[in-house]
Symmetry: C2
């Protein structure tokens, strides 16, 4: 009996921590070369769009294998499929349909970066953007740090007010709208940048010393949401997949800045193979690209729990 | 609400005709270069096996896109997944899980070959093999021809008796076990060879003039179930995918025989672009390789009906 989960099944505040913990296991496997995460596979349907497959798996004890598929066809409705097999007995553990798993996965990667790079006593979050990614990133921050307060800025005043009301209710912390990007981040210990902006919304001077920054939105040479000077001042720059930053159709935003070569793999930081935050005054920067294959790991953990 | 079908949902005698008619549309699209059917995509999990993806789709009116995935892991239980999108609105039509769809698809390809290559008044079938493929091939023959009788031979007497009893009941025609391979086929208008034998189980002298033969089992130079002399006497040799016969790891059984170059594409025969049966005395041969992507087309038709 194959278990099948849909968006409406992926509810409850426990899911984010399950996802973050599953990804921690996956990132440790990656540092140990046991995470299977080959390049995406595209198949084109002329004039229609592509089917895009990302495969993922973990080798070792309790091995997993699976894939995610999404399409780029024209349409109002889009459905992703994630399927997971336990790889020691060929059993199909289940299938997860819909959009929520992908958002949860990306949020949880952000949470893992915050767990391992932000100040352990971080209390305040500044959020730029008020969409689905901003929501899951803040939920992930709240799962790994004992937060007091968050401030959100986005261009549309209604959106930021709705975000603040909804997230205050959901997370049980104070969440307030800010009048500008700099006001949202100026005393934040953690900054989440999850916009669609192709020009920088904040610069290094907007941030306080010791801040940790997640950038989730655009970050190619053609457009990026963070000022390049933030990378210059960062003591640590990390990403979930430096391979993927190099595979972008347009070069990664740090290419040619002198900073791209010191970018560390989050997996190596978690495994203790690369340096993380060194002192309370360090600025740390995490460039989230969505390590391929990780949806499978999150889906597997959720299929085990639900 | 995504429709999800499992093996237990794929029942009823109407399914075979739905599958054959759906494939006829797909083969006509193939003759018109509107069938998308790229090479399989394998992803390896070291020491465990592969995930194998076949993508398929039809361009034109009511465009379809989808894929099948199966695994080669060690285990008692195996699950295939087929997913189908309508490609004009990006809507996920549904998912079909399990083993039955693949068998139905391969049987229906055999039925399509029988519809377009066997004598229109064919009444008798000889079947070699008594497994799942032999069952669906015979059901497909019964869907496209007005059969009186079938004879089955396989090495195990119990298996062929069970096959005869079960298929007589299922199809409402006389089905009897034969004492040898040649006895099963000697007066047959249609011969279905669906064994696992790697040495020929019948030769040209076993067959009557005007017979149509489907070979579903082994057909590489390393092992093949049909005598090569059957290809020599055949007026028409067809396959569902000559690309796939050329992509076998071991060469196709007709390679070097002088017959491989006159092999026609079943799609072209159906579309009237290549010659089919010319006279009642012609022997015709269909080499079934399982055209990639056709599971998607069959799944789509079944999702529309159920």
């Amino acid at each position: 009996m194959t278990k099948i989960l849909k968006d409406e099944d992926l509810v409850g505040s426990a899911l984010m921590m399950i996802a973050i913990d599953a990804l921690e296991t996956a990132f440790l496997a990656r540092a140990d070369n046991r995470l299977i995460s080959p390049p995406r596979h595209h198949v084109s349907f002329p004039d229609r769009g592509d089917l895009v497959f990302t495969v993922g798996g973990i080798l070792g004890e309790k091995p997993l294998a699976g894939f995610r598929v999404y399409e780029t066809f024209d349409g109002a409705e889009h459905s992703q499929i994630v399927a997971v097999w336990s790889n020691d007995d060929a059993k199909l553990k289940g299938i997860v349909l819909g959009e929520r798993l992908g958002n949860l996965r990306t949020g949880a990667i952000g949470g893992l970066a915050i767990r391992h790079l932000s100040a352990p006593d971080a209390r305040t979050v500044g959020i730029l953007g008020s969409g689905a990614q901003a929501r899951t990133q803040l939920a992930a921050a709240a799962a790994v740090r004992n937060l007091d307060r968050a401030r959100v800025y986005s261009r549309d005043e209604k959106n930021r007010a709705a975000f603040a009301a909804e997230m205050q209710q959901a997370l049980g912390i104070e969440v307030e709208p800010a009048g500008s990007a700099s006001e949202a981040v100026d005393d934040a210990d953690i900054v989440i940048c999850a916009t669609t902006s192709r020009t920088p919304v904040i610069r290094a001077r907007d941030l306080k010393p010791g801040v940790h920054v997640n950038t989730v939105g655009p970050k190619t040479c053609e457009g990026y949401e963070l000022g390049l000077d933030i990378a210059n001042v960062a003591a640590v720059i990390a990403t979930d997949s430096s391979e993927q930053t190099r595979a972008y159709a347009s070069p990664f935003f740090l290419a040619g800045s002198g900073n791209e070569h010191r970018m560390a793999d989050l997996a190596d930081i978690i495994a203790g193979k690369a340096a993380g935050r060194g002192s309370p005054g360090d600025t740390t920067l995490f460039c989230s690209v969505g390590l391929a294959g990780t949806e499978v790991v999150v889906a597997s953990a959720i299929l085990d729990m639900l």
